[in-house]
Assembly symmetry: C2
Homo-oligomer: 623 residues x 2
Amino acid sequence: MSPKITTELLKHLRQVMKNPRYVQEPVQAYIVPSGDAHQSEYIAPCDCRRAFISGFDGSAGTAIVTEQHAAMWTDGRYFLQAAHQMDSNWTLMKMGLKDTPTQEDWLVSVLPEGSKVGVDPFIIPADQWKRMSKVLRSAGHDLVPVKENLIDTIWTDCPQRPCKPLITLDLSYTGVSWRDKIVALRSKMAERKVMWFVVTALDEVAWLFNLRGSDVEYNPVFFAYAVIGMNTIRLFIDGDRMMDPAVREHLQLDSTLEPEFKIQVMPYGSILSELQAVGAGLSPKEKVWLSDKASYALTEAIPKAYRYLTPYTPICIAKAVKNAAETEGMRRAHIKDAVALCELFNWLEKEVPKGTVTEIVAADKAEEFRSQQKDFVELSFATISSTGPNGAIIHYKPVPETNRTLSVNEIYLLDSGAQYKDGTTDVTRTMHFGTPSAYEKECFTYVLKGHIAVSAAIFPNGTKGHLLDSFARSALWDCGLDYLHGTGHGVGSFLNVHEGPCGISYKTFADEPLEAGMIVSDEPGYYEDGSFGIRIENVVLVIPAETKYNFKNRGSLTFEPLTLVPIQTKMIDVNLLTEKERNWVNEYHQKCREVVGAELERQGRHEALRWLLRETEPLAPAQ
Amino acid sequence: MSPKITTELLKHLRQVMKNPRYVQEPVQAYIVPSGDAHQSEYIAPCDCRRAFISGFDGSAGTAIVTEQHAAMWTDGRYFLQAAHQMDSNWTLMKMGLKDTPTQEDWLVSVLPEGSKVGVDPFIIPADQWKRMSKVLRSAGHDLVPVKENLIDTIWTDCPQRPCKPLITLDLSYTGVSWRDKIVALRSKMAERKVMWFVVTALDEVAWLFNLRGSDVEYNPVFFAYAVIGMNTIRLFIDGDRMMDPAVREHLQLDSTLEPEFKIQVMPYGSILSELQAVGAGLSPKEKVWLSDKASYALTEAIPKAYRYLTPYTPICIAKAVKNAAETEGMRRAHIKDAVALCELFNWLEKEVPKGTVTEIVAADKAEEFRSQQKDFVELSFATISSTGPNGAIIHYKPVPETNRTLSVNEIYLLDSGAQYKDGTTDVTRTMHFGTPSAYEKECFTYVLKGHIAVSAAIFPNGTKGHLLDSFARSALWDCGLDYLHGTGHGVGSFLNVHEGPCGISYKTFADEPLEAGMIVSDEPGYYEDGSFGIRIENVVLVIPAETKYNFKNRGSLTFEPLTLVPIQTKMIDVNLLTEKERNWVNEYHQKCREVVGAELERQGRHEALRWLLRETEPLAPAQ
């Protein structure tokens, strides 16, 4: 990788920072955050403004440009990558290190007195604005919204905002009609005495209307906002996609409907003025519900006294609890996904010894097998296909410069998933195509023990996922080992592979309690820099658990694995497993055999079926 | 218990709420919080204002009196007690129930427009003031500080503020002189670029100066504040206790000292005016460090721009990490405490079958045996001596009305501890003096498994205690059981039995990471309403752990039990223990035998020694 040369770009940006055409008053600093106007994790090319100005295209990073400096804040995952991708105009600010200043503190230290710090109010979340603005103000500076995005003004070949056709999902996929979702939402609004709800997250808009799109890679979403009143529905969306008869039919745009279910379609760009009009017309006690992570621009459209902000929206919470149709869809999707992976691993077992399979080839092959499955749409994230030392790079994605050839001497880690019309998958398996060392097996077995500890955990209704995180680490901790990422994240139903409000991580405290129907990943790991990476990931469904007693009638929960892909027994040191753990592995493999075996049979994939049967033999007893 | 008749008192309070002698403007509501001016958990009789005005004397509760209403907020532990102790003038607000309004919301719902809500600014913590004041202001009301405490104006027979003699602790107890503690504190202040530190918590003042007192029952503290500058030390304390030659010598009040170690002794009541003077004399960038839980009055004394507020003070954090002298003292204290409990349990075993031992008798006997030990000062909290159904009341304290007789048919739970000059103890043992049922043994064994899971846990340096909480519950959860309290709290060294900033609880996220030298309790339990309570509690010391590997060179920690009292093997269902757990019990009992056995021998307590030897026989093997 050679760094992007940014000298001219920065010069240009510094000019527009003083250009009265774009700024009311000159700004002495301009902040370029990572996100888009919907606080999305994955963003469209037209929103990759930070990558454009700096060259650094990792998933997390904030650039700040002043008259003298250009600085980039990113975290440990990206120190190396950012250093490679940025030229000497940029200073790398390594977040998480003790001596690294926060963005606010750094600004205070470099700015002349009474400076203005500009930022696009659509890109910065309201909670972050509040925090930053407070520190700057107390040091005599001002955080100011700059209406026109200054990067866009200098980005001459900026790609267009995508505006791809929509997919309509019928009841067999969603289980609940968009009308019933609106009814449920309005009842939550009534409970909180709120008159309006503003839907800003892309996956929330998609879920609410039972629509999907492909405006953003890997996430089946489309650019839109919605504003739901007690008697009105406004959908802000661009392009001729609303002309599609299937979409019109699905949204009943041309039907005679009760007025409260009539959807008013409005231009995407009119959200701010429409919301300002709502804000201006509020009577006392009429509150407007927004996520506290909604953009500063939209939050400011509602006068402070009328705002009702929560960290998780009612849609985010409802979306997380999958209904029967969604759960069944997720099961189907995971069976198909398992078929594809059985094909892949059977193929790899034959091909790897020939020395011709690179990480990229393996990733492509995985996609090829997945794309053969019914209702396949696209991948759910960039495949992490990594062998040997590359496996220790937790967010690795093979590129030609790093592409390594799989061999019988190294551990191979594949973290991949797909979007099917009936569900989203995300699975990690760690394999050895030769003979693993005793140490590799030992580490793998600790990770497996952690995986089982979470998967088999029984816990009371109302337990938050973060309370289960240590179960995944206990076996590693006993030997002085650990891994530096959370254990699990929420998974959408043909939606984003990462979604709130639940998860399993020591890093959060504000997750919502787990409840039956939620779906999360269970993915402990162990990584040895320069040597190998191990991760074992299943997507699991929260289900009620039968217990001997029932304290305070609370009821208990546990997990059912949706992912049904064999865990390589060759990597397991059976002597390190308890009897309960051995039984877990054998029962899991028995289920893979039955369920995925039947599907492989049905699809006539006999060789992959033989591979499955071989890989799911019961474990040898401990010695 | 008959309720306190409060009609006249409330009438009187409502009069002073309008009396210009006490309030600048009439207040329409007056808040009476639980605490004292130091946010203490245990308070002196003169600070029990909420109990005085309402009759309800539980440890947690906030009273609010308006012209029409009198309402009391308390939590689930105290619903019954509060209902019994308060007359019909009072409405009980059951915190934690869904329909119970917050204090702010309730005030907004009952107050006439534009009301003033009064509170003693010395009693309300600054963070709570901020929260309340915000809600009230947004509803058009005002939270106002009422300088004179209105309860004190009507409390004609209010006890005097205690002012008892001080105890000086020499280096053999504290390990570090107060001068070195001041030096360390000033270096922390310099690190944070802070010029002043205000010590408001009583245990922090006591720790800093290596002094102890007895102004508050169970907590060896004394009423005082301190303000530490980079070159000055001010101690605010009343009474002639500063005339005690031992104290003068200890604080070197009459010696020629470098000026920066010269302690200026000032009246307790002058803290506010002195702090205001400090506040008025600050130059730009001179910050003053306070706990964010310091009183509103003291926090307001410092102009906002000059405040540096943190949830944990540097003293709180330094105090939690015990040095070698303190650790050794804690070990000694726990051995003496174990001697007393061996005597007690031996005595109970003989006496209980006679049917003459009540909960109060047993508690008194425990105190008697403890008081025979060297350097005994007082109990460290009110003894929880509870048999049968009383054991299920987690914060039970026997009183004549509830006093139950111990028998061979019920489980007995004793949670007790003492202050010795060399350390603080806190231990819970659950015993059966007859034959426990299979169910009782089953529950006891799950609790024991949880206790061991925490005690034997190995975890990386930097781990916060709350991440260990689920280990204590896992065995209970597996069977659908749980307990509704945290698993552990920090323990002071001849100081408060509950101290921050560490602990083991699912309820917090803001605890400081555990480090070697910290001391916490490990006390899972199981409670069956109306039947029995089980809790097994040791005080444990955080120590470095040897592990096979050492990921990222972080090092690992584990716990060493300081409490050395046998865990009744009669209550254990050995078949439910793993081999590792059986070994843990046997090794623990072996240590009790050796260490406490030697001390019993030394003290010539031969009968108790025989009891100890009997109770620490290795467990029978599982069948």
